[in-house]
């Protein structure tokens, strides 16, 4: 599994209210919600994002609400991956549960600039800034979480008996 695309950069503490404002949460239709992805921090994001593009952010990405709609709209927009210095814990859990690839890598999150071409290999955790040619090694997931990801999310892994056993 891998992704390749251009980088969108955001600061520390990007919260779930700017990822998907609650005023739109009167529906749970992912495609309808995805039209408002990142709206309150970057109203142009949904017009510019292309399949495979990468969000690069600082500390505590996804803080705030437990709304699973947040990783869901990022995934539905076609975003290939989120790279951050750290993730808020409910966002981290939700991203894994719904199959949005996320990687913790402080140096990559610090150095990759907006608009750079980025390639990510999820099997090895290697992030490459194609524009600069520099590579970074992200934190690998524990095997338990890798199983959930490989199964395509928590509920699939439950059916296969690889989680909660």
């Amino acid at each position: 599994m891998n992704t390749k695309g251009k980088a969108f950069r955001y600061p520390d503490n990007v919260d779930t209210d700017v990822i998907i404002p609650a005023r739109y949460l009167n529906t749970s239709d992912a495609r309808e919600l995805a039209l408002h992805c990142m709206e309150d921090i970057d109203s142009e994001f949904v017009n510019r994002v292309q399949p495979g593009d990468v969000i690069v952010a600082g500390w505590n990405f996804g803080c705030g609400s437990s709304r699973e709609h947040a990783p869901l709209v990022i995934k539905t927009c076609g975003t290939g991956c989120v790279i951050a210095k750290s993730f808020a814990r409910i966002f981290y859990r939700n991203a894994i549960n719904i199959g949005l690839p996320i990687l913790e890598c402080e140096q990559a999150a610090q150095e990759i600039e907006a608009g750079h071409e980025v390639a990510v290999d999820f099997d090895t955790g290697i992030i490459t800034d194609v524009t600069t040619g520099k590579s970074y090694q992200a934190q690998p997931f524990p095997p338990f979480i890798q199983n959930i990801i490989k199964s395509g999310g928590l509920l699939n892994s439950l059916r296969e008996g690889s989680a909660n056993d």
């Binding site: 919260d15 309150d40 705030g64 750290s86 814990r89 928590l154 989680a163």
Partner: protein, 419 residues
């Protein structure tokens, strides 16, 4: 090696003698919670995965609170999805309009959650129930679906920060000022992935409403859960209320903490979190130049009876400032009823405030008090992110009910001083 209080509850629910920080476990759940925003997503996942029954109809709680009474047609459809699911699975703890309240005020009040429980809820403020001595944490809708189907959830056992509380709060401060002070000190990711364990001789002077408010905002410091020890105050609150027998856990004397933070409650002052993060705190006394257009007193953080009483003591017989909207939202029907019976409801109206039926409403920019561009609100809610209560160019200042009510009378941010 000794365990923290949270670790002991997790070990017991995982059927293990001991657990250590970082360990991955599967734990049995006492309550699985969802609301009108997160439950429809969970119901969809539950059905898609082919599950046809919940693990225990008495251990699932579904509370309609964010957008009810239904704010629009789409919200009505979401409520309908929850209602039909609850009905078809005979969910005993389903709370619809007329019985509902804001989930994190309602479940403790109704005795649905108790000491020693292991609880997940598809709402980030599920960490509130740690005030009762439970391990309780927020998750997403897929975890809720899995929890409803299997009665278990996976956890990475958290390490903990110990908050050693000493002294007694000044009379113009409450639990809200304590938690805002702590978040201001450690930051919005200061307890990321960790437990916040509150302890020390200062605990006994904190009411249950103060403790619920403090644990409620643990997530605003990034924490997995907040937790208080069980004492006489807890047991008195649970008596005659708790549906199940409370189980008391204590941290081991040799429990390992990542760090210890000392908090002298007597030194806490009325504190306000300025836009746009809960850790951007300042003393209320330094913010007199900040004029406000709206005051909101309510939410899962501060919509409880003591919060209503604090607001009433300040507003009764007075008038809210000209040009200011003051919106008061008791968190449950029982609290609303108390406000009516005690005459507070009339006093609020006479002061020029409005009183709503229970709802999360404006806290998350849903309805019932949305801000226009350039408007400013001081609120007893829990988040002040960009656009949280309305327009992206509006501002939310977080404060205690006392500070919010005092500000309602002046029209600018004002700390309450007893006459």
């Amino acid at each position: 090696m000794g365990m923290t209080m949270s670790q002991k509850i997790l070990a017991a629910h995982a059927g293990l003698d001991s657990v250590a920080a970082g360990q991955l476990i599967s734990a049995k759940l006492d309550i699985v919670l969802g609301n009108d925003i997160t439950t429809p997503v969970a119901v969809n996942e539950f059905k898609k995965a082919g599950f046809d029954k919940v693990f225990d109809k008495d251990k699932v709680a579904i509370v309609l609170d964010h957008f009810v009474p239904n704010k629009d047609i789409k919200a009505a459809e979401q409520s309908k999805t929850c209602r039909e699911f609850a009905c078809s699975h005979c969910i005993s703890h389903f709370y619809d309009v007329g019985k509902m309240g804001i989930e994190h005020a309602l479940l403790p009040e109704q005795g649905v959650v108790t000491a020693g429980d292991c609880i997940i809820g598809a709402d980030s403020h599920t960490c509130t129930y740690g005030a009762l001595g439970a391990f309780s944490t927020g998750v997403g809708s897929t975890d809720m679906a899995a929890g409803m189907a299997t009665g278990t959830a996976w956890f990475k056992v958290p390490s903990a920060i110990k908050f050693n509380l000493t002294g007694k709060l000044p009379s113009n401060c409450s639990g809200k000022d304590v938690i805002l002070t702590i978040i201001g000190r450690i930051g919005v990711d200061g307890a990321l992935y960790k437990s916040m364990e509150f302890t020390g001789e200062g605990v006994r002077g904190l009411s249950m409403d103060d403790r619920l408010c403090i644990c409620n905002m643990a997530v605003e410091a990034g924490a997995k859960n907040g937790i208080f020890p069980v004492d006489d105050v807890t047991l008195a609150y649970l008596k005659g209320r708790s549906e199940r027998e409370p189980v008391v856990y204590e941290a081991d004397a040799d429990a390992v903490y990542e760090s210890v933070v000392d908090v002298d409650l007597s030194a806490v002052t009325p504190t306000v979190a300025c836009p746009h993060l809960p850790d951007n705190t300042r003393p209320a006394s330094e913010l007199h130049d900040v004029g406000v257009d709206q005051v909101v007193i309510g939410s899962c953080t501060n919509g409880r009876l003591e919060d209503m009483e604090a607001a009433w003591r300040i507003l009764k017989g007075k008038q809210v400032a000209k040009g200011l909207r003051c919106i008061i939202i008791p968190a449950t029907m029982q609290i609303l009823r108390e406000c009516v019976e005690r005459g507070w409801y009339t006093d609020f109206i006479d002061a020029g405030a409005v009183v709503s039926t229970p709802t999360c409403g404006p806290c998350l920019g849903g309805y019932m008090g949305i801000l226009a561009a350039g408007e400013r609100c001081i609120a007893t809610t829990n988040r002040n992110f960009v656009g949280r209560m309305g327009h992206v160019d509006s501002e939310v200042y977080l404060a205690s009910p006392q500070t919010a009510a005092a500000s309602a009378l002046t029209g600018y941010i004002t700390e309450y001083k007893e006459a």
